[in-house]
């Protein structure tokens, strides 16, 4: 209080902002570089040439139209989930249950499609969207209400609800909704009308477009509407928001439910954009990766978009790597993890250095 407080010596705002921007952009780049460097050591230890491997991975993710399409497709669920979590995390609502909300979204959309055959696509697709989002939203609303009414920590309740959702979908996929003609734990194929329409004559479907549309939407929500302002204000100091006459509980409920809805929307992509079946294992941990991506993207929509593409590229690149080299695919996951850790650690180090 006594030290830095009273002198009116605050550096000019513009220069300060440039410096902030440089740090905001430079830190993750530096962290990524360090992470890749450590990854290189791991590759050498595994008996391969890191430069060749990294080149393979890069070309596998960005090397051509097909590769780019694959990366973008892969990035979409990441992006939707992490954008929703961005809104929640900005309000300091720690929804760790995107995985479960994603499953519930997939279940709601998949069940709708399977139970309503023969409905035309222009009608069916919107219904699936709404119900899928609602599935995720409801699954997030439960821990939300538990938090605001009973003060139950949302980290624990959302985490627990993940397992219920996953097991429920697995049960449905091998029970009531199982393909009557098949033996695998998965539903029958969705009819064409229930599939997300493809765009630009490529494999890019409507869901991808929606995911990327949410980048500006989230930005506008958070920084251009009173609702977004209060969400961020709750994250800064909830007691001030209460003082200002705004219902904090309602903000928290909105934040968690909204993030659940986006995770539910992402779940639809797994059923209706790809695979076209409801399966017991529709997620590769998207909901958990989404948490990392939201944090890695510094809870800013543009940063989250970059992080989502980066994550997708690593995943897609790893597939290319396992085709070309003898290295196990798990090495790619290890590199992914090391890079995330390095970026977060660099971030923490830079911040501590400044304080």
């Amino acid at each position: 209080m006594t030290t830095a407080a009273s002198l009116p010596a605050v550096a000019p705002a513009a220069r300060e902002r440039t410096r902030h921007l440089l740090i905001a952009l430079g830190t993750p780049l530096l962290g990524t570089f360090i992470g890749l460097l450590i990854g290189a050591i791991m590759i050498v230890l595994a008996g391969d040439d890191p430069l060749v491997i990294y080149q393979t991975m890069f070309l596998g993710a960005f090397g051509g139209g097909r590769q780019l399409t694959e990366t973008i497709l892969q990035a979409s669920p990441y992006l939707l989930i992490a954008l929703g979590l961005t809104a929640a995390f900005r309000a300091r609502v720690w929804n760790i249950g995107a995985e479960g909300q994603y499953y519930m979204g997939a279940l709601a959309a998949g069940a709708t499609a399977l139970l309503l055959p023969g409905v035309p696509g222009y009608f069916m697709i919107p219904i699936m969207m709404v119900l899928g989002a609602a599935g995720g939203a409801v699954w997030a609303f439960i821990p939300g209400i538990l938090k605001t009414r009973r003060g139950i920590n949302e980290i624990i309740s959302t985490l627990m609800l993940n397992y219920i959702a996953i097991l429920l979908v697995q049960y449905m996929a091998r029970g009531p909704l199982q393909d009557p003609q098949g033996f695998l734990p998965q539903s029958a194929q969705l009819v064409n009308a229930d599939r997300l329409p493809l765009l630009f004559g490529s494999r890019i479907h409507l869901g991808v477009l929606i995911a990327f549309l949410f980048v500006p939407i989230i930005y506008l929500l958070l920084w251009r509407t009173p609702l977004g302002f209060w969400l961020r204000a709750v994250g800064s100091r909830a007691s001030v928001v209460r003082y200002a006459g705004v219902n904090v509980d309602r903000m928290i409920l909105f934040a968690i439910t909204f993030s659940g809805a986006l995770a539910g929307l992402a779940g639809i992509l797994a059923v209706s954009g790809d695979g076209f079946r409801l399966k017991g294992d529709i997620s590769n941990g998207y909901g958990f990766d989404g948490v990392l991506i939201a944090l890695l993207g510094r809870m800013h929509p543009v940063g989250v978009m970059v992080a989502a593409i980066f994550f997708a590229a690593l995943t897609v690149g790893a597939q290319a790597m396992s085709v070309v080299s003898q290295l196990p695919a798990s090495l790619a996951s290890a590199i992914q993890a090391v890079v995330v850790l390095s970026v977060l650690a660099t971030d923490a180090a830079v911040h501590r250095g400044r304080d």
Binding site: A4, A244, G245
Partner: protein, 522 residues
């Protein structure tokens, strides 16, 4: 100067920079044996930084510290204690369930028999020390049974037990009642008489003049001057602190109270722990008057503030603001009834530190036109209105886009004040409106409050600074353990009486109105 001779402590050319701020810009300070040397200055002048350097909490960027004839470098508080320095912080560092003696040996470097400290010997030694310096604390009392003043004396005893020759007291009276503060000043002079040297950090002119031999005034990280207490006065010191003439006393005309704007009837509320904190408070504040609530911190002030603002549940009684019952409504509702609220905790309630000045200035109005139109925030309008308020209230900020957390305490409070007064309130709830502010900022806030009063606003002033209550209020109520134990017109107020009521002592013969004093206080 009380004693001649070699200084026990010299700090020479101390420089300490923080990012963007030079907290200490070449400070010289010396302390003679048996001397009480006050370090006076506004918040941010560099007092606490200087003492934190001395106590080993910060390393200076340059400068030397000499203890008697030895140059020392003090790397940690641990090293400082070993060199005979002792510091009593504003916030006590005591374990509540432990006894005085246990707290004093706690964390001591390797007592010979750590689990078998001969407690009778220890108690005897502590008793002797306590008596020598008039501290009057019993070694076997658990801390939680002690008053704030006693706890402070335990801290002093702890420092003495650890062999302190130089005692640093950081704003020691800020937590005390007037009587306790007087007792402390007596202890300080006794310590000096017994040969200890005392550095006394304060921004209160009266006590500095009363307790010290010499006074060093800091401003903007530099020494303005060192003067003998005998040869100066309040006006001169204030001028040195601020760098210009300061109006110390509040000038105000008699109040012309109008209709009742805020009425509390037998209001009850619980504390955060669920214990009764307000036990039947009845008050009326009229238009054009300031009702001051005096009391030692923690006697229900925060609960009273929050209950009126609609932030805390009322368990009994009723609150009427501007003729409308607002009992158990919401801050939005009380705001609609004309209540503006300057919260006691600026950073927990009053403002968002990592949001801009503009956002904080428009906090309650952001969602309504012209700041939000068709659902979209109009940042240009927000900034424009904010700029006008910044000018009107003379907030010193580089721009309205500066983060509020980067403002000084005084300017941050001006932001809160500007926002609340811009709502054209009918009732103003001002809780600790000058807490942590420096002399010139206090002057500004006081002037604004009087201005509002003269404009017909009903003001409820809750403050633990008795001087502030006395100089601003038209009527004074004393709160003790959640009850109003006295209500008196400011013209008839007697400081000693109010002090006693604040401490929960029974009322003595005086001007307090018999009929307004609840039975329990008699």
């Amino acid at each position: 100067m009380s004693q001649a001779g070699m200084p026990v402590l010299q700090m020479r050319g101390i420089v300490k920079r923080f990012p963007g701020v030079v907290a200490n810009a070449g400070i010289d300070f010396d302390l003679l044996p048996g001397e009480v040397h006050a370090l006076l200055g506004e918040n941010g002048a560099g007092k606490t930084t200087l003492m934190n350097i001395l106590y080993g909490m910060y390393a200076p960027d340059s400068g030397e510290i000499w203890l008697r004839d030895r140059r020392v470098s003090i790397a940690s508080p641990h090293a400082a204690i070993a060199l005979g320095l002792g510091m009593v912080h504003q916030h006590f560092m005591l374990v509540q369930p432990f006894t005085v003696a246990e707290n004093i040996v706690l964390g001591q470097p390797s007592p010979r028999e750590p689990f078998n400290e001969n407690s009778r010997d220890l108690h005897k030694r502590l008793d002797a020390l306590s008596q020598k310096y008039g501290l009057a604390v019993r070694p076997d009392s658990p801390i939680w049974t002690l008053s704030v003043g006693e706890q402070q004396r335990v801290e002093i005893l702890k420092a003495l037990y650890r062999g302190a020759e130089v005692l640093i007291l950081d704003e020691p009276t800020s937590v005390l009642t007037p009587q306790e503060a007087d007792e402390l000043l007596a202890i300080i002079s006794r310590l000096a008489r017994e040969g200890k040297s005392v550095v006394f950090i304060s921004h209160k002119l009266g006590e500095v003049l009363a307790a010290s031999d010499r006074i060093t005034v800091l401003r903007d990280g530099k020494v303005v001057g060192t003067v003998a207490a005998r040869e100066t006065d309040k006006q001169a010191l204030a001028c040195m602190m601020v760098g210009r003439e300061v109006v110390l006393s509040v000038t105000k005309t008699p109040a012309h109270p109008g209709e009742t704007r805020l009425a509390l009837h037998n209001v009850q509320a619980d504390s955060d722990r669920g214990l009764p904190a307000l036990r039947g408070i009845s008050l009326e504040v009229r238009s054009g008057e300031i009702l001051g609530i005096a009391g030692v911190d923690g006697n229900g002030q925060r609960e009273l503030e929050e209950t009126i603002a609609g932030l805390r549940v009322t368990t009994g009684g009723s609150i009427v603001i501007g003729g409308q019952d607002t009992t158990n409504t919401s801050p939005r509702q009380t705001g609609c009834c004309g209540l503006a609220h300057i919260p006691s905790d600026r950073y927990r309630m009053g403002m968002l530190g990592d949001f801009t000045v503009a956002e904080n200035l428009m906090l309650q109005r952001l969602g309504s036109p012209p700041f939000t139109q068709h659902g979209w925030l109009q940042w240009d309008n927000v900034r424009q209105a904010a700029r006008e308020l910044v000018t009107a209230f003379d907030v010193r900020t580089p721009s309205v886009d500066t983060l509020c957390g980067n403002l000084s305490g005084g300017n941050a409070q001006k932001v809160v004040l500007a926002r609340e007064l811009a709502r054209a309130p009918r009732v103003l709830l001002a809780a600790q409106p000058t807490r942590g502010l420096d002399v010139s900022a206090i002057e500004y806030v006081h002037r604004k409050l009087i201005e509002q009063r003269d404009g017909g606003v009903a003001i409820l002033l809750i403050s633990t600074e008795l001087d502030e209550i006395l100089s601003l209020s038209d009527r004074i109520a004393v709160i003790y353990e959640g009850k109003i134990v006295g209500l008196v017109d400011a013209g008839e107020a007697d400081v000693n009486e109010i002090g006693l009521l604040m401490a929960g002592q029974s009322r003595q013969q005086g001007h307090l109105r018999e009929d307004r004093v609840p039975q329990e206080a008699l």
